[in-house]
């Protein structure tokens, strides 16, 4: 078996962060040196064997193969999250703040103030967290979505109503505290 093939397949599995089917793996190779399915299965078997004494194992699931952290190690891995909850980026917080103060606001409105484009990921995260919702569309070309904050947003920040947000004039005096890990 081609040892290099094993390395490539392992790299693919660890880069993808999801299960990959045999065909997906084959598709990243140029046609000229695309491995046969059997060859690939052999490489996968080799990876599985190498994992014997490692922290991960090769699993075959419905959509293909994935390298997964061993069940026995779940306890340690979970502590990693306990120790350090993820944090939001400055871009996300500014987007949320602008929606809170300027609602209803479109993506374009936010981009105008911030001078950079607002990523879809940020809007998705805010929607997923139920902090903002789409209240409608602005009747301008493209009919952009109008975002407003939700009740959950008020609850999270312990506000009774939007009028409890400090006025902008006060905010401008605030020092710019930057989220930066120590």
């Amino acid at each position: 078996m081609n040892p290099e093939l094993k390395s490539i397949v392992e790299a693919l599995l660890l880069a993808a962060d999801r299960a990959l089917s045999v065909d997906e793996i084959r598709s990243v190779f140029d046609e000229a040196d695309r491995p046969e399915r059997d060859e690939l299965k052999q490489a996968l078997a080799g990876i599985a064997a190498d994992c014997e004494h490692r922290g991960v194992e090769l699993r075959e699931v419905a959509s293909g193969y994935r390298l997964q952290i061993r069940q026995e190690l779940a306890g340690w891995v979970n502590r990693l999250w306990e120790e350090k909850p993820p944090r939001y980026t400055r871009a996300l917080l500014e987007t949320l703040a602008l929606i809170a103060y300027r609602q209803p606001a479109t993506r374009g409105d936010i981009e105008e103030v911030r001078g950079v484009s607002v990523s879809t990921g940020i809007i998705r995260t805010l929607l997923d967290r139920d902090w903002i919702r789409i209240s409608g569309h602005r009747e301008t070309p493209g009919r952009p979505e109008l975002f407003v904050t939700t009740r959950q947003f008020l609850d999270h920040f312990n506000l009774k109503s939007l009028s409890d947000l400090p006025p902008l004039s006060e905010i401008n005096e605030l020092p710019e505290a930057l989220p930066e890990e120590a």
Partner: protein
């Protein structure tokens, strides 16, 4: 990023002909071959430069000479040719390009004018500051290229990640305090203000406009003191552009300049011929 403009195999001698054949306002007609760019490509072309220093570096590198050996007078001519070309293409130039034009013209005029022999004045070679800036810019231009060549995450490198084990507590949501949110708003507002400041840009004074203005102030057969043509309200840049305009007019034989005594006042008058008209014998 736009690829740098292609080098055309052009003998350096031909660049001497850059002594431009245009007169103020008139269409740019005679351009050296390596300077010709189809009008629609102009925008793309200018975008290839990161500003006046970058354009100057390109002009210097094109001749395969060291920055230290640059002939400021010649490079000024070439730079001006580009500026004219861009303006002829109705391209709105950033103020920085005009400021650099003025600075180059100032250096050029100081080189061309006889220098007083005092030692202090000798020390300040006006070319030195320009060269220092060019070297410094080139250094960081290179550093940026090196930085771009470093392998980086999600381009050459990927974080290796494995699937998480099945019985997995939910990852906690990030905590956000109201103060974080307000600080973010403060940041956004401050930045927006900064953004607005930057809409205020230098009002550029073009050499062409200045020439037109000077033509109106000068009269045939009457000498006007040079000092009276300088308007302090236009600031340093205005003064430099005035000198630049006068130099252009000299080249076009549109003005006569007279200085009767050494270090005496300099006077100008309109030359015998009108710009753009054939000299009548």
């Amino acid at each position: 990023m736009v690829a740098p403009p292609p080098k055309t195999p052009q003998a350096p001698e031909s660049q001497q002909q850059l002594a431009i054949a245009y007169v103020a306002g008139a269409a740019v007609e005679e351009l050296p071959g390596d300077l010709y760019i189809p009008p629609n490509a102009l925008e793309v072309y200018l975008e290839a430069f990161e500003g006046p220093l970058d354009l100057l570096l390109y002009l210097i590198k094109r001749q395969n000479i060291d920055i230290l050996e640059v002939d400021v007078a010649e490079i000024t001519d070439q730079y001006m040719a580009y500026i004219e070309l861009m303006q002829a293409g109705q391209f709105e130039l950033a103020a920085e390009y005009m400021v650099m034009a003025a600075m180059l013209a100032e250096i050029k005029s100081r080189i061309l004018l006889p220098r007083p022999e005092t030692a202090e004045e000798e020390e300040a070679d006006p070319r030195m500051q320009l060269i220092r800036r060019l070297l410094e810019y080139e250094r960081y231009k290179l550093a940026a290229e090196n930085l771009d060549d470093l392998p980086r995450l999600n381009r050459e490198l990927r974080q290796a990640r494995a699937g998480l084990p099945e019985i997995q507590r939910t990852i906690p949501e990030p905590v956000v305090e109201l103060s974080d949110l307000l600080a973010a708003m403060a940041g956004a507002l401050r930045q927006a203000e900064l953004f607005e400041h930057h809409h205020v840009s230098l009002e550029s004074i073009s050499t062409e406009e200045k020439i037109g203005h000077l033509l109106r102030s000068l009269e045939k057969n009457r000498f006007v003191p040079l000092v009276s043509l300088l308007d302090p309200r236009e600031g340093r840049l205005g003064v430099v552009v005035t000198f630049l305009a006068i130099m252009e007019m000299m080249r076009g034989a549109m003005v006569e300049i007279v200085q009767s005594d050494v270090f005496g006042p300099i006077h100008l008058r309109l030359a015998g011929k009108e710009p753009g008209k054939e000299e009548s014998a």
